[in-house]
């Protein structure tokens, strides 16, 4: 399966890699075709500065991973950019348009759609209704139009077809009529991802898509994320799992203590001393105690 996608996919994935190959690996580096550019984004909670990003750009059409140790401010940064939290200062543009301070639902409408770390499946609604909700520009969602089904029934049919096609792709087509709350944790992740795609995102922002997902499902999620890139969707995701980051991302941005400390292609970033220090501590291989020494010797 990986082989077939690699050959069929080829073009866009390679294009994304090629576009980024000439980019220098340093924090805040400009990209050839950025979809999202953020400047001086700052958020503090009381005395704690959770996010303090000087400058960061996200390349269009690529899969960018945002990594960093716990408490690095990744999710807070996500919340700020998508409008779910208010930044203390800073500006950011999406497709060249100033969007700082825009309401989150409007950001979603112009193509910046996110998912959540704690999966938000709408439990007491069916899987298909979850999907239908994702579709944009629905006439039937207007109060007075809703009363007259003939105004929206044909649009509803198109939405149904799209929903079913996506559910089939995400292997949820047998669950169409089930309540979303009856799905397993992994299936909910899939549903949330499929639902986000219903909203036609230009930039999809996945907050820890792999958290709490078993290894087999992880592989299929990886495939789905790659296929998003193949369809021209830009992907930005937060992740802890380094193997996964290494496997699928074209570019990696590392945050620690609220700031971007490193950027680059996955291989380069993982060898970066600043990244290793941020994850493991600057003195992680220094001896701390005599007993530690003894243990190492005993072990070898």
């Amino acid at each position: 399966m990986p082989d077939s996608t690699a050959t069929a996919a080829g073009t866009l994935a390679e294009k994304a890699k090629a576009a980024l190959s000439q980019v220098e690996a340093r924090p805040g580096v400009p990209k050839p075709d950025p979809i999202l550019v953020a400047d001086h984004v700052k958020r503090s909670f009381g005395g704690l500065t959770a996010v303090n990003v000087e400058h960061v750009e996200i390349q269009r059409g690529a899969i960018t991973a945002l990594i960093g140790p716990n408490g690095a401010g990744k999710t807070t940064f996500f919340n700020l950019i998508t409008g779910f939290d208010d930044a203390n200062e800073g500006t950011w543009t999406f497709n060249g348009r100033q969007v700082a301070g825009m309401a989150p639902y409007r950001l979603a409408r112009i193509g910046m759609v996110r998912t959540f770390q704690l999966t938000k499946a709408l439990s007491r609604m069916t899987v298909i209704d979850n999907m239908r909700l994702g579709a944009k520009h629905q006439t039937g969602e207007r109060f007075f139009a809703a009363i007259f089904p003939f105004l929206w029934s044909s649009q509803e049919k198109t939405i149904d077809e799209r929903s079913l096609a996506l559910l089939r792709r995400f292997n949820l087509h047998e669950k169409v009529k089930d309540f979303a709350g009856s799905l397993s944790g992994g299936q909910r992740k899939l549903l949330e991802m499929a639902r986000a795609l219903m909203a036609d995102p230009e930039l999809i922002m996945l907050d820890e898509p792999m958290a709490g997902v078993n290894p087999a499902l992880k592989q299929s999620l990886l495939g789905h994320i790659k296929s998003m890139r193949e369809e021209g969707t830009t992907v930005l995701f937060v992740e802890h799992d380094m193997d996964m980051v290494h496997d699928i991302s074209d570019w990696v941005i590392v945050m620690a203590q609220g700031a971007v400390i490193a950027e680059g292609p996955p291989d380069a970033v993982m060898k970066d001393q600043a990244v290793i220090d941020a994850y493991l501590g600057a003195h992680h291989d220094a001896q701390l105690t005599e007993s530690g020494e003894a243990l190492t010797e005993g072990g070898s």
Partner: protein, 329 residues
């Protein structure tokens, strides 16, 4: 012991004017709480707004009842905007606090001496409030009473139109909740942030649901004023709202027919226990209760019944227990 009398009285109340008023209030709550997840604990304020619109327009200003109905709907809309705009951006519990406070504020304001000239103070507004409606009564002038149900000619006309109104409102709610609009609203009940992340303006939907539910409640108030030909500020106590919630949960929240069946059963049980106890005391079957205790005892029994309902059938009559359990995550 007159079983026929107990049955007649019970049935008359179970599908009578009071049941209709509570049914409309509960349908409004169903839109707000059942579908949109908005905890409105001040539904009685919307009912009062409808009643007072009739009282003030017809009695104080001597204008048409039909205008009063329109005014009632407008006032309920404004009240919903007033309560909703500052609170709907906040978490659900804030709406609950604000609405219960606002409903008491509304009652205490309308009964105050300051507005006595317009709103009638603590005595309220009494007079021929519904005359224009009662003039349309097509029932024969020599109408006595139905075989089992002891309504007057006037009451029967209110009951007929009232249930037609309930049916019309139910159809409207049914059309709305099965539409994409209803889908968004149910999504908001489940998880607001998820719906925002899909590009829906959640605030506007919540406001729409609050207004719709409030206007339906106000229709109940209009029926009340027309049927009883009087508006009394102290009938709009917070317990009205809680009875309406009881009705909603009894029938099953987020079920189109929940409030109708809930209202009928609620008043059947409440009136039935009252009539039965009254008759039983008169017949000497029960000697440890005085006739004056009956009114309170029936609420004690009702409360016990409600607890039993929550333990054995928390989803109500029409609800789906499996669906309810999903909420536990």
């Amino acid at each position: 012991m007159d079983w026929g009398f107990v049955l007649t009285q019970t049935m008359t109340q179970a599908i009578g004017v009071t049941a209709i008023i509570y049914c409309l209030a509960a349908i409004g709550l169903n839109v707000q709480f059942g579908y949109a997840g908005l905890l409105n604990f001040g539904q009685v304020a919307f009912v009062a707004a409808g009643s007072y619109a009739v009282g003030v327009i017809v009695l104080t200003f001597d204008l048409s009842l039909w205008l009063a109905i329109l005014v009632g709907i407008i006032v309920a809309t404004l009240l919903a905007l007033l309560l909703g705009i500052p609170t709907l951006r906040l978490r659900a519990d804030y709406l609950a606090i604000v609405t219960i406070a606002a409903s008491e504020l509304f009652r205490l304001s309308v009964r105050s001496i300051a507005f006595k000239d317009v709103l009638g103070g603590a005595q309220g507004l009494n007079g021929k409030l519904g005359q224009q409606f009662h003039d349309t009564n097509p029932l024969p002038a020599d109408f006595e009473s139905l075989p089992v149900l002891s309504w007057t000619r006037q009451d029967l006309w209110v009951v007929i139109v009232g249930w037609i109104l309930v049916a019309a409102v139910t159809v409207l709610v049914w059309l709305l909740v099965r539409s994409p609009w209803g889908r968004v609203v149910k999504g908001i009940r489940e998880d607001e942030d998820a719906v925002v992340s899909l590009g829906k303006n959640v605030f506007v939907y919540k406001l729409q649901a609050l207004i719709l539910g409030g206007v339906i409640g106000a229709l109940g108030g209009i029926v009340w004023a027309v049927a009883k030909q009087s508006v009394q500020p102290d009938t709009f106590q917070p317990d009205f709202t809680f009875f309406a919630y009881t009705i909603l949960l009894l029938g099953g929240a987020a079920r189109v027919f929940g409030p109708i069946v809930g209202a009928i059963i609620f008043w059947f049980l409440l009136a039935g226990t009252g009539e039965f106890l009254g008759q039983a005391i008169q017949a000497g079957w029960i000697d440890f209760l005085a006739p004056t205790d009956v009114g309170n005892i029936r609420f004690v029994l009702m409360g016990a019944g409600l607890i039993a309902l929550m333990v054995f059938r928390p989803q109500g009559i029409f609800g789906d227990r499996k669906e309810l359990a999903l909420d536990a995550r």
